[in-house]
């Protein structure tokens, strides 16, 4: 019964008891947290099919008795590791695709070595991706390949698709892919050409250090890291919460350095001159216009994406030359769109129904 003050006095002992129990559990689990490692990530069985410097091509072992004709190549963003798409069983996008009958390959990245500072956009778009596509074709025995690009992996896939419009890319799926870099307002301001000496930075450090990449991501929401640590402490008695926290925190802080020349091009061509949006982008002297892409395309964007705001991504579908094109906006943020409980319910089934009919 509620007292006139609005307090339910009868429930107070129960609440106190619950909080005392949680406080005890926090102490026990807190010790456990610091003395154990997190869950093993990226454990879906795979073979490292090819590896060359910063580039690795994985082939995941099929989990279905019968697979779709067209293999799928996932192109990961160059700033982060691919295991975000393969967290733990039951929360792995890769595992989901395999169980739904797709033959899955992933182009993943490791930290570029100091001598790889000279890797250029050309190396990524005209060498790494085509090389992987050729290997997928040879391994699968199929000419067609569907490409899935996550975040900047989507940008690389778009550049690849626009330079090689005659195939072999059969379908393209982009997750949270920016094309209008003016609309990435904070990144745009951080790299303001009046104050950001990208040449000086690249010439002095070679590869752009991961700490710089990570801090620029964290600055987009400066209070969130502290708040997430408060939330961790409040919920440390909850094993599921802790597991989830550890998975995402490990991934988010496992940022990769960027090859210096590649970063220089991103800054000058995309952040400063917005060439992809302005249809003036070229890679290695080859024009990369989005209108060249004619294959079926699905673009999944997140309603609350603070890294790639919708304004930076919304023009993609309009600028693509395909007749079969679709944008789908789903609830969630930049990461929860593709990984975690929400993705299992929202994005993955949508992607399966879209891609399945185009993979035969």
């Amino acid at each position: 019964m509620n007292a006139p003050t609005g307090l339910d006095f009868a429930a107070i002992p129960e609440r106190i008891q619950s909080e005392v129990q949680r406080a005890i559990m926090r102490s026990i689990k807190g010790v456990e947290y610091f003395s154990t490692s997190g869950p093993t990530l990226g454990s879906t069985p795979k073979d490292v099919f090819h590896s060359r410097g910063t580039m690795s091509l994985y082939h995941y072992r099929p989990m279905s008795d019968e697979i779709y004709r067209v293999p799928v190549l996932v192109v990961m963003a160059t700033t982060n590791r691919g295991y975000i798409l393969d967290l733990v069983p039951g929360q792995s996008f890769i595992e989901f695709l395999l169980k739904r009958g797709y033959d899955v390959y992933m182009l993943d990245w490791s930290a570029p070595r100091p001598e790889e500072k000279s890797l250029r956009m050309e190396d990524y778009v005209l060498d790494f991706i085509p090389d992987c596509v050729r290997r997928v074709q040879a391994d699968s025995g199929e000419q067609d390949v569907s490409v899935i690009g996550y975040c900047f992996g989507g940008v690389l896939s778009l550049l690849y698709g626009s330079i090689f419009p005659d195939g072999p890319m059969k379908n393209l799926i982009c997750f949270t892919t920016p094309i209008d870099f003016r609309e990435m307002k904070l990144f745009s301001n951080f790299s303001d050409r009046r104050y950001f000496d990208v040449d000086g930075l690249v010439d002095s450090v070679g590869n752009v250090p991961p700490e710089m990449i990570l801090s620029s991501f964290e600055m987009l929401r400066p209070a969130s890291r502290t708040v997430s640590q408060i939330q961790l402490w409040e919920n440390i008695w909850n094993d599921e919460f802790v597991k989830s926290y550890r998975m995402f925190d490990r991934w988010a802080t496992d940022t990769l350095p960027l090859a210096g020349e590649y970063f220089r091009t991103i800054t000058k061509d995309l952040m400063w001159d917005n060439k992809l949006y302005n249809d003036t982008m070229s890679v290695g002297g080859r024009a990369a216009k989005l209108e060249n892409i004619k294959v079926p395309i699905l673009h999944a964007v997140a309603e609350h994406d603070h890294i790639v705001p919708y304004d930076a991504a919304k023009h993609l579908i309009a600028k693509i030359g395909s007749a079969d094109k679709e944008e789908v906006m789903l609830k969630g943020g930049h990461v929860s769109l593709v990984a975690g409980a929400n993705a299992v319910k929202r994005l993955w089934p949508k992607l399966d129904s879209w891609l399945g009919t185009r993979s035969t």
């Binding site: 001598e115 009046r194 104050y195 950001f196 450090v205 987009l220 939330q231 009919t357």
Partner: protein, 126 residues
């Protein structure tokens, strides 16, 4: 059960959430200004310069200690990378030769047939 309005824990959580939103919003506005960009890049440039000077100093130190220089290590890394690349090529060629001869891939399990149809076309959902 206490409701959310009177539950001090729920109130605390709500307050933390609101503070997070408020601070993020405030900081975002501040970070969108050119003054912020100027200050940030000035500090970042100084840090990069200091890092470069430190790296040069370390290289001289390593040289005086008769340890391999960065350039030498990079040279070894490049050679290793070339060897890795060649190994990858050999492996790929072997797989290709094996596939062409009709044998199962070296060390690989047999692949399922590529005959799957989507459920909408009457394919089975396994």
């Amino acid at each position: 059960m206490t409701d959310k309005i009177t539950d001090p824990i729920a109130l605390w959580q709500k307050m933390v959430g609101e503070m997070e939103k408020g601070f993020n919003s405030f900081a975002t506005k501040a970070m969108e200004t050119p003054e912020f960009s100027q200050a940030m890049n000035r500090a970042g440039g100084a840090a990069a310069g200091a890092q470069k000077q430190f790296a040069d100093l370390m290289e001289k130190y390593l040289l005086s200690m008769n340890l391999p220089s960065r350039e030498q290590m990079t040279g070894i890394a490049e050679r290793l990378q070339a060897i890795e690349g060649q190994l990858g090529e050999i492996r790929s060629m072997l797989s290709q030769m094996s596939a062409n001869s009709g044998d199962a891939r070296i060390g690989a399990a047999p692949r399922p047939p590529r005959t799957r149809r989507p459920p909408s076309e009457g394919g089975a959902q396994k």
